[in-house]
Symmetry: C2
């Protein structure tokens, strides 16, 4: 079971990391960015652009959808979120704290997602990459099955 950072730790890691990235790239602190990211951190799950857009409107931030995409792309460039591509053409984004990688176990019946990590698997992946002389940058492992409740 992956241990997820609690909210306090998450924020303590995230905001300085973001500030650093912004400063490094001559980017600016803006109200929209801050609010959008606050919402994202609150949710702290897989979100797509449209969900975040709605969530922002809910808390009274009148922000354009384009800005949501720009913000998500920025976060991804900064390696602060991870982008997932799944089976309907839309991307999901997920906060990506350092050293907190996990994979997904997905119930094909109820769509429930369990996160897990397995160090042994990771090591074998590195071995495979090494065999083919690849410099590994990322990976995704999704297991699909039927959860206990749905069986």
């Amino acid at each position: 079971m992956p241990v997820k950072m609690n909210s306090r730790r998450l924020e303590q890691w995230f905001w300085p990391a973001l500030d650093k990235y912004l400063a490094l790239h001559n980017l600016k602190q803006t109200r929209q960015r801050k609010k959008l990211i606050e919402q994202f951190l609150n949710l702290n799950t897989h979100v797509d652009a449209e969900m975040l857009h709605r969530k922002a409107k809910d808390v009274g931030l009148n922000v354009g959808l384009a800005t949501v995409y720009r913000t998500l792309n920025l976060l991804q460039q900064a390696d602060l979120v991870e982008q997932h591509f799944f089976k309907d053409g839309r991307s999901l984004y997920e906060i990506n704290p350092p050293d907190e990688h996990h994979d997904h176990l997905v119930c094909v019946t109820c769509a429930k997602v369990i996160e897990f990590e397995d160090q042994a698997i990771e090591e074998l992946q590195n071995k495979v990459a090494a065999t083919h002389k690849f410099k590994l940058t990322a990976h995704r492992l999704d297991l699909y099955g039927i959860c206990p409740r749905c069986q």
Copy 2:
């Protein structure tokens, strides 16, 4: 390295399976379908709709792009091909012979895809599923990295 069926075995499995599916669903044998699929089998790698469309034109088949998509979707429904979503918003399709699973090592620079299989990883996956009492039905493992030539 995964062992791929040779061309003869591939065709001996594929065409009867397709015929069976068509018959079962009251679908028809058409020139376009047959030719498109012939090209796909010839290539026998990851293809996207546009590649297949071009390939078909190359051999003198004037087929609409819509038909290419329809054909690929049909094959997927029949479970004769597998659809992949790698990181650029377009889908790749791959012939999917029974009992011939493999995973992917994708170069993030040149988009080259290498196939591999690793029994040890598979076993560990089963173990993970068992831990969570999931009945595993499928999985996908994509490794992303930079290939030797792009480094």
